[in-house]
């Protein structure tokens, strides 16, 4: 008979068995037995003490996005658990593999409105892939194995384990469990060769094909398969924000970004192609604009692993269900080697027009205050376009996605679906643990930084090498832009009275500098990147600058405004 250990100790061993090496967390009453067990596992389970539970989940997300592994957060019951809700919802909509372990009161206290008791499973079920309450120590091994299997398989997502206190203290003989099959859940559907053949035929017959690339390609580890697919049949593509680093920014078949603040060419050509091929993307409203006029002239093929995504927003002519690593490879085998030279040339005038009207002005201003675009592009280039781009939400995010350049996969950490302000700083911390050898560049506004600014404490304690580029325009910039465009310039509560961020950074022992003049920008970026560890570079940005081009909400996707 093997030795008996506590449920908390069983959790540690189960996490180690799953290959967890970093945990982001915050202790509290109902999770104390687990933290007590963690004390003896410090060497294998690197626990990063955040400063607020929301920071723990966003850090776990950042870690997962860049590493491809499951992010792990651990918090206490009640407020600890509810503070993770935003991150869980964010991970759900952006398909990020994550396991969140919450303490819970003992089962004898459940339903009594006990101190720090919240119905965590009830709260998190609609926003998680799976949510489960561990009520007995005997269930720890199984629940952890099932949680990690669900989080990382199929379309990845967040899983919540609600860990009752009696299950943490109860004694159990521990054997690690393996879960690689759940009867009711099929994350790995078999290839349907009829669909594969139909897809290949449609692509071979297409004169004006256009591929929409989403994050699903990276999640399915299919970047190589995508590239071969595109190159063999000479298929131009556009990417979503989440799929930005799937294909190098300068690849000749990468026509740019899709959607509301994307590039002109891809959006116009969406409504001109004869075949739209969506891979690992979900036709978000920010990508499609007005559905009534979206790609109505085209046949549509949708590759996805989540069957519920088919025909959800956009009716499609053919669905190809499965992991795109397999489906793309199978279709590619049947593709003719072809050229779409004149169709691809057709994107060029739009790119030139956008460059002249928008991009050149954003990247090469000669006078006036600093612009976001020029700062972002200079940071990207100074990091040899090999950095990880982390963004907060708002203009900083839209501009970073437009002007940061990518040569490496798994380089985008942004809150795409939920649009969570405050996501950036903790997610960047997580990214430094997920990819310790890479440069992590966080672009954040003066609004979003203050939503989770307490995580500067985590950066200080860990020496996490986050390069924080604070794009300070003294406004909640994106809302201000919409107020300018759609609410008659009525700036209702968007001007920001800001603290002295340099002083704050210095209080946390983080080197900081402010750039106001354009002539000082290059040297400041060089200094930031040359400084080991964290750094805060504050850039004084033009206050009322707008992100362009833009498709107004609800408008047709090919009707982008290039200027106001």
């Amino acid at each position: 008979m093997s030795e008996k250990i506590t449920g908390a100790e069983a959790l540690m061993r189960a996490l180690e068995h799953e290959g967890v090496d970093v945990l982001f967390g915050y202790p509290g009453g109902s999770i104390m037995p687990t933290y007590d067990a963690l004390y003896d596992h410090k060497k294998t389970l690197n626990h990063i003490l955040v400063r607020h539970e929301q920071g723990a989940v966003h850090a776990a997300q950042g870690y997962a996005r860049v590493s491809g592994k499951v992010g792990c957060a651990i918090v206490t019951s009640g407020p600890g658990a509810t503070n993770t809700v935003t991150g869980i919802a964010d991970a759900m909509i952006d398909s990020t593999p994550m396991v969140v372990i919450c303490g819970q009161v003992g089962v004898a206290m459940l339903g009594t409105d006990a101190f720090q008791e919240v119905d965590v499973v009830g709260v998190t079920s609609p926003i998680s892939k799976w949510s489960y309450q561990i009520r007995r120590a005997e269930d720890v091994a199984w629940a952890v194995a099932r949680a990690f299997y669900i989080a990382k398989s199929g379309r990845p997502g967040p899983v919540v384990l609600d860990f009752a206190k009696n299950a943490q203290t109860g004694m159990v003989e521990f054997e690690p469990a393996e879960v690689d099959f759940i009867r009711s859940y099929d994350p790995d559907p078999d290839l349907n060769m009829t669909d594969i053949e139909r897809a290949a035929k449609m692509i071979n017959n297409s004169v004006k094909p256009f591929v929409l690339v989403g994050q699903g390609v990276e999640l399915g580890n299919a970047t190589e398969e995508l590239r071969t697919f595109l190159e063999k049949a000479d298929l131009p593509c556009g990417t979503t924000f989440m799929g930005l680093s799937t294909i190098p920014s300068d690849h000749r078949l990468n026509m740019g970004i899709l959607g509301m603040h994307g590039n002109l060419g891809p959006n116009v050509m969406t409504n001109q192609c004869d075949l739209l091929i969506a891979v690992g993307m979900r036709f978000d409203d920010r990508v499609t604009g007005n559905l009534a006029t979206y790609a109505k002239q085209a046949k549509i093929i949708h590759f996805d692993i989540d069957h519920a995504e088919f025909n959800k927003n956009v009716p499609v002519d053919l669905k190809v269900w499965g992991n795109c690593k397999e489906t793309l490879a199978a279709v590619t085998k049947l593709l003719d080697t072809s050229k779409h030279t004149s169709w691809i040339e057709g994107f060029k005038p739009y790119a030139e027009k956008e460059y002249e009207k928008v991009i050149d002005k954003a990247l090469h201003p000669t006078e006036g205050p600093l612009l976001m675009g020029e700062v972002i592009r200079k940071v990207s280039e100074a990091a040899h376009n090999e950095g990880i781009m982390v963004t907060d939400v708002g203009q900083n995010q839209l501009m970073a996605c437009r002007y940061f350049k990518f040569t490496q996969k798994r380089s985008v950490v942004t809150s795409g679906g939920l649009g969570t302000m405050g996501f950036g700083l903790p997610a960047a911390i997580g990214a430094t643990f997920g990819a310790p050898d890479r440069t992590v560049c966080l672009f954040v506004g003066d609004g979003g930084l203050q939503m989770t600014i307490q995580e500067l404490g985590t950066i200080m304690e860990q020496g996490a090498p986050v390069k924080i580029i604070l794009l300070n325009n003294n406004f909640l910039g994106n809302v201000r832009q919409w107020q300018e465009m759609f609410f008659a310039h009525r700036y209702s509560f968007t001007p920001m009275v800001n603290p002295n961020y340099e002083l704050i950074a210095k209080g946390y022992g983080i080197p900081a500098k402010t750039v106001i003049e354009r002539k000082d920008l290059d040297a400041a970026i060089a200094e930031m990147l040359a400084t080991p560890g964290p750094y805060l570079l504050q850039c004084a940005i033009k206050e009322e600058d707008n992100v362009l081009p833009m498709t107004p909400p609800g408008a047709n996707i090919d009707e982008m405004l290039l200027e106001l």
Partner: protein, 185 residues
């Protein structure tokens, strides 16, 4: 004017017998502004599998979305939607009728008999009538009894139904899953 394509659909959902699934399933409907008209949950003929019978008014596109979103929940085995023509449908209703009112108006008893309803209790105060049939018939009986001013209480069960199809989708699917499980091991 846009054509109203809304009709009553019946959703048959099979799941593993785990706690907490009911709220997950109903949340899929309510989040998309679809009201559940009736709901029945019970064990199914397949060991370990629970069957949910849900009715709701929506259009076919929404019925498809609801079905796939329900099926996406980890512990749901299968979900399908049907129109009334594709199902054998029954509901049970119980009527508590005033016995004095019945005595006064003999038409009440003949109406109950004409619907093939069963009288399962009679005392001097009230009588209880039970009927199991297609829901529209229950409504019709209720409307007529109501006019006779004799109904003290009325209750309907959720809809129960079985499919007219000669194919047992769940069993076939479970066999495929079992084969896949064996291949995984």
């Amino acid at each position: 004017m846009e054509q109203d394509t809304t009709k009553l659909y019946t959703f048959l959902i099979y799941s593993e017998n785990v706690p907490g699934l009911l709220s997950q399933i109903t949340a899929v409907f309510t989040r998309r502004q679809v009201n559940i008209e009736s709901l029945n949950v019970c064990a199914s003929s397949t060991p370990g599998a629970h069957k949910y019978t849900v009715t709701a008014y929506c259009d076919e596109r929404m019925a498809r979305i609801l079905t796939s979103q329900v099926e996406k929940r980890i512990d749901v085995l299968q979900a399908h939607f049907y129109t009334d023509e594709e199902l054998f449908i029954n509901e049970t209703a119980l009527f508590k009728l005033s016995t004095p009112a019945m005595m006064k108006n003999r038409e009440v008893s003949s109406l109950v008999r004409s619907y093939d309803a069963r009288i399962i209790e009679v005392n001097s105060t009230y009588s209880v009538v039970e009927i199991t049939c297609f829901p529209d018939v229950i409504i019709s009986l209720f409307d007529q009894l109501k006019k006779m001013d004799c109904v003290l209480q009325f209750v309907r069960s959720g809809r129960i139904c079985i499919t007219k199809s000669r194919v047992e989708h769940l069993d076939e699917w479970l066999a495929v899953r079992e084969a896949k499980r064996k291949a995984t091991k």
